[in-house]
Amino acid sequence: MKNCKEYCAAHPKIESDILLVGHPNVGKSVLFSRITGIKTIASNYPGSTVCYMEGNTGYNNENYKIIDAPGTYSLEPVDDATRVTVSLLKNSQRIINVVDATHLERHLPLTIELIEQKKSMVIALNMSDEARHLGVDIDVKKLSARLGVPVIPTVARTGEGVKELVETVLAQPLTRESFSTALNPHPHIPRHNEYTDKSSIPAGPHMHLKRDIVWKNIYEIVESVQTLRHRHHTFRDMLEDLSVQPFWGFIVAVLSLLASFALIRLTGEFLINGSVGIFGEPWFEIPFGIEPVFEKILKPLLMKLSVMLGSGSLAHKILIGNLINGDIDFVQSFGILTSGLFIPIGAVLPYIISYYFVISLLEDTGYLPRLAVFLDSIMHRMGLHGYAIIPTLLGIGCNVPGILATRILETKQQRFITSTLISIAVPCAALQAMIIGFVGRAGLWAVAFIYATLFITWFVVGFILKYTVKGYKPELLLEIPPYRLPSFSALKDKVLGRILAFIKEAIPIVVLSVFIVNVLYMINIFDYIADFFAPLITRLWGMPRESIVPMLIGILRKDVAVGLFAPLNLTVKQLITGSVVLSMFFPCIATFVVLIKELGIVSAMKSTAIMLVVVTVVGSLINLIL
């Protein structure tokens, strides 16, 4: 995979040779990766590029810098993503305007705004295969003549037309003196109308006269270049309509979520044990899984090393950790080579793989926006709208991309509420894997209790924030993309990319955390800290005073922290309190940094203050109730 950089500055002043601009969800990111060879994360919902991506392409021995801008419907900045695009546009030499061939009339308003910028420009008529399939024929030559800029049909998914697109955009002169007269106001243009033949100009307020004229021109252009062949209602159309109907949509939503959880759990268990089955006898088995590899292959090797080092030595303490009843316990021993390897690879990685597999599947099919539609009324109770569920679901993988994805929301207030809720009540996949694997041993009800507590906290805190966070909270306005069959290779690249990112980022920090814990234990510093926090931890939460260690380590890695509960011999009640507190108490350092960067220092501090209050109250409540 080539090195790719993603930037998230609010007002980038970066210069580019070619800028990709277009509506959300038209395939800009796929086109970008076709041009640059960089693997990007593209999904089937508007706004999957929340920041912008930078890459290079070589042509005629010259190197050109290409930027993939966040999707935007117009150049009038209504949200942060659009502001970024407008900023990027100022410093770009050439524009590739990516439009969706299946809905030309929806994309031309932006195209016209871009043409008005008088920059060197080419239109990529993307998804032209899908347009042909849907019975939409576009006269490319005529369209190009009407707009006065070259139009190249492309299929980003297969790479069709991409080479021609790059050649054309680079062959264009850098400035255009004037553009086609096709866009000049034209008083007697019949209005395009799908259902009736009515052609009078509508009566009504004309607040934006210039835009109205542009609209009429667009209809006239579209009518002259596009022919729609009649098409029967297909099975896919039926399914698409069904999933936004109140009753069936609800059934589909419930089934999709249940199926997703089941698939995550089954895939995760399969990777860990090498076998699959819900009750009793496994249905399917392979001779190895991640856990048997650790137990049968690594353990004997490490036991030999343990004997060589001698159980009292410093090296033994750091590499192997403590022997539990004369044997290595991969959760409790806490050496770099035992728990330091097992926690990220043996316990967490399988769930990271299965989670990202399922969420990528949901992203690519186009189901997430439909879920957003369904949850809109619930999210309204929290001062949000349905689209906020997308960052929240991404936060289940890792809070960092979740908080970055709040950029798809329109206002600061919504971003503050969503980010705060993610950092408090959404446990990341690494933490969840440890909770399921470790607390699950005490009984599934304990795991269910933890999830229920977090969910209730999420909702109640959201409900309170709705009334305390002042400001304009816009409503849901969302284009629902068509369902698409996920492409296997795109899915594979995406899952692989996310897994590699986890391995690269998590394993070093886990090993470092394990090392730090051992050093701190040796110099006995925890005693002083434990004394300081004792009233909160023992009186209010009913936890042993030593549990301050996992709480503090949780700031580095939450999964390691759960592992640290193991030697404390906690009761089930304490395990539940501990897991809930750990989920809420201080987001890990990576999340905290992103929170400050995205919200600003003042809001991040407010968010932290809310977190401290919530964690104290919820921890005490569990202690009282159970």
Binding site: P109, P202, P205, D241, Q245, V373, H380
Partner: protein, 82 residues
């Protein structure tokens, strides 16, 4: 036919957008999405309990929050069963 609100249309109703009763910010968002006066829309569904209204406009499906849908004035032109 008389003017009505987008929220009051029934499933399958076809209507023309007449006017918007909202502020400048709302207007800008709706126009960017391709919803402007004179457009013909078809109501696809209505999620109950304060949920959004779903429309077909220019062959694209758009979900609009209830509060916003309540500020869009339309003129019903017919009904086409789904």
């Amino acid at each position: 036919m008389s003017n009505t609100l987008l929220t009051e249309l029934k499933k399958g109703d076809i209507a023309e957008i007449i006017a918007f009763a909202g502020g400048v910010a709302m207007l800008a968002r709706l126009k960017a999405m391709g919803l402007s006066e004179g457009k013909i829309i078809k109501k696809l569904s209505d999620i109950r309990m304060g949920g959004p209204v779903i429309l077909l406009v220019d062959r694209a499906r758009i979900a609009i929050g209830k509060g916003m849908a309540n500020k869009i004035i339309v003129e019903k032109q017919g009904n086409e069963e789904l």
